[in-house]
């Protein structure tokens, strides 16, 4: 197997104009700010970071659901920009957090799963039925459940429907945006096991977004940490969890409350200033919260430093 990149992102940037009041001047929010990375075929890149740091925006850019303000996305070596929508659907598919919002409530499960096949416009009815049945079985849904409506299923079963729909075109890449965040712990484990099994059996590549670091550690081979639109650290999963290099990564890891009694709640040392994407601080964008910042952190922007261990963007790393 070659190490060809399934996803490659170069200088990717996306801005939004937001108005914070009816008469306020529109402000510029840089949701994804000059991000570059590549994901080797067959691997899982986990993306973590706080609410609003740009994870979903990044996912939507890679899925082609959002136009970049600058930069490029290459999927399986091809530029996403000019790609035909149907060709794109055969290559890359999403699984979102809230399966209820993304499933048409008026359609039966098997029709929902058939939609991507029908949209291709070239696949016969018998073949569609066969592939839908195969996809449902693959995700552990019975033919009987295929005849139900989304409202008649539990949250975990609905997420299985969303996964079946994502897989029915046999894509190479699946972008999962918080796929288990809305689920109960016992059901989350079922879905994580299913996603891991599918990846192994079908040789899929995942971009896996979650705010739950323990979940990411369990499934991702590599992890990217986002802060206010930038990837501030990226490393192989074991390495990142064993030896985080960026102060923000260290704070994130410190705040993971593992079920080990007696350890108490750690002091993450971040203060009470919250990041505002409409007001990105000068210098290092993390400096107002950084427990180890030095003078130049508030004036000089650190450059990303790459080496064999990965990437880190901090003056002190």
């Amino acid at each position: 197997m070659s190490g060809a990149a399934a996803i490659e992102v170069r200088g990717l940037r996306r801005e939004f104009r937001v108005r914070q009041g009816m008469f306020a001047a529109p402000k510029r929010v840089i949701a994804v700010d000059d991000v570059s990375f590549s994901v080797p075929a067959g691997s899982v890149l986990g993306v973590v970071g706080e609410s609003g740091c740009g994870k979903s925006t990044l996912a939507r850019l890679i899925l082609g659901l959002l136009e970049p303000s600058a930069g490029d996305v290459l999927v399986d070596g091809q530029r996403l920009g000019g790609m035909d929508r149907r060709a794109r659907a055969r290559l890359i598919q999403p699984v979102f957090q809230d399966p209820f919002a993304s499933l048409n409530p008026k359609r039966r499960v098997r029709d929902i799963v058939a939609m991507p096949l029908i949209a291709q416009g070239t696949i016969g009815t018998a073949e569609i039925a066969r592939r839908v049945a195969e996809a449902l079985e693959r995700v552990g849904l019975s033919p009987d459940q295929g005849g139900r409506f989304p409202a008649q299923l539990s949250g975990g079963q609905r997420q299985r429907v969303a996964i079946a729909r994502a897989l029915v075109l046999r894509p190479r890449i699946v972008v999962c945006d918080e796929p288990t965040s809305a689920l109960d712990v016992s059901v989350q484990a079922q879905i994580l096991n299913l996603l891991a099994e599918l990846r192994r059996d079908l040789g899929l590549t995942y971009l896996f977004i979650s705010h739950n670091l323990a979940v990411v550690e369990h499934i991702a081979s590599e992890v990217a940490v986002m802060y206010l639109g930038r990837i501030v650290e990226r490393a192989e999963s074991e390495r990142l969890f064993a030896a985080p290099r960026h102060p923000y990564t260290r704070a994130l890891l410190a705040s993971v409350l593992t079920p080990e009694p007696g350890l108490g709640v750690p002091d993450v040392g971040l203060g009470d200033i919250m990041p505002d994407p409409a007001n990105i601080p000068p210098g290092c964008r993390f400096h107002p919260r950084c427990p180890v910042a030095v003078a130049k952190c508030s004036t000089e922007t650190p450059r990303p430093a790459s080496d064999a261990a990965g990437l880190v963007e901090c003056h002190l790393a």
């Binding site: 706080e50 609410s51 539990s154 975990g156 079963q157 109960d184 712990v185 016992s186 059901v187 989350q188 484990a189 079922q190 994580l192 096991n193 891991a196 099994e197 192994r200 705010h211 739950n212 670091l213 323990a214 979940v215 550690e217 369990h218 499934i219 991702a220 081979s221 999963s237 969890f241 704070a251 994130l252 410190a254 705040s255 993971v256 409350l257 593992t258 079920p259 080990e260 009694p261 007696g262 350890l263 108490g264 709640v265 750690p266 002091d267 993450v268 971040l270 203060g271 009470d272 919250m274």
Partner: protein, 325 residues
């Protein structure tokens, strides 16, 4: 030690749902008791029962509901509202449930004290500023003049905690207070609650679905499933020697960094949480339980699995063959 809060055999029915089916628990003074369980198992309804805030149409029965030794089960709305916000306070997942968007933080905080204690305004403002500082808010004077929507989620949650503390309550019920927050802010808020509890001798009933939170903050844990408390024990005991098949399953489901190798499956519990109808008898977990037997359809024995360790299950403690080490 006599309990600060004692709930015995609580049953709540809402329409065609048996939301709570005989739950008992006790919170001691100065103790954090965590009530843990998955969505819909009855955690919030249990808390709201204690506060006298159940939704309209809910029917509540208990054999005892005692606060600081006094039976309050028969209290009407007038007596309950005198207790609420004064000797017992509650905070919610969504701070805007307790904050009014139309009033400043300062006026809402002082109002509590003026209503319950008739404290003069200037004194109430001082107390509010002191508490905001106490919950780690820098520039409390500025925050007092702001409206809730001008604050971040983490700050709002701190304001709500400060407001709950205005009258120096003995009992604080916190229903998923950090679920909507980022992990870094969650850790900060939980640390704050732990400090406050120690300093003020608060009894806390903390509701969560997160076993990580339970392990780190609880003195005692009650595990709820389908409206019942199925297991209750001191925290160290519950994590070291869980007995109920649901507790054991739940613990194996949680990914812990460094514990289960990537691509090795996590433990999981097959099936989904059932919805309970009134009249359902026996163990609510039996359809998902690998150990179920016909006896699980009958009345379940309440067993002592060890000192201070209660189990609601037909299996004998130690059934899983662990070697006491």
């Amino acid at each position: 030690m006599s309990a600060l809060l004692e709930v015995q055999d609580l049953r709540v029915t809402i329409g065609s749902t048996a939301a709570v089916r005989g739950a008992s628990l006790a919170v001691n003074k100065g103790e954090t008791h965590c009530l843990v369980g998955e969505s819909g198992c009855g955690k919030s309804i249990t808390a709201l029962s204690v506060m006298g805030l159940l939704p309209r149409g809910a029917k509540r029965e208990t054999t005892a509901l005692r606060f600081a030794g006094e039976e309050i089960g028969h209290f009407g709305e007038r007596e309950m509202s005198r207790l609420r916000g004064d000797r017992m306070a509650m905070i919610f997942q969504e701070p805007m449930t307790s904050l009014n968007p139309a009033y400043t933080v300062g006026s809402q905080m002082t109002e509590v004290l003026r209503r319950h204690r008739g404290t003069p305004r200037a004194q109430a403002v001082d107390r509010a500023a002191e508490l905001l500082a106490r919950v780690g808010i820098t520039a409390p004077g500025l925050r007092l003049g702001q409206y809730p929507h001008q604050l971040s989620g983490g700050l709002r949650q701190r304001v709500m905690i400060a407001m709950a503390l205005m009258c120096d309550p003995e009992l604080l019920i916190a229903d998923e207070p950090t679920t909507a927050l980022d992990v870094t802010v969650q850790a900060q808020i939980l640390r704050l609650l732990a400090t406050l509890q120690k300093d003020l001798g608060l009894g806390i009933l903390l509701i969560t679905h997160d076993l990580g939170i339970v392990a780190r903050v609880a003195d005692r844990v009650s595990v709820m499933y389908a409206g019942e408390v199925v297991e209750s024990a001191p925290t160290a005991t519950l994590f070291a020697a869980p007995e109920h098949p649901y507790t054991r399953g739940l613990l194996s489901c949680v990914p812990v960094p460094g514990k289960v190798k990537r691509d090795e499956p996590l433990g999981s519990i097959p099936g989904v949480v059932p919805r309970m109808r009134p009249g359902f008898t026996g163990c609510g977990f039996r359809d998902r339980c690998g150990q179920a037997s016909p006896a699980c359809e009958g009345t379940l024995p309440r067993q002592q699995a060890g000192p201070d360790h209660e189990l609601l299950c037909t299996l004998a403690p130690g059934w899983h063959g662990r070697n006491a080490a």
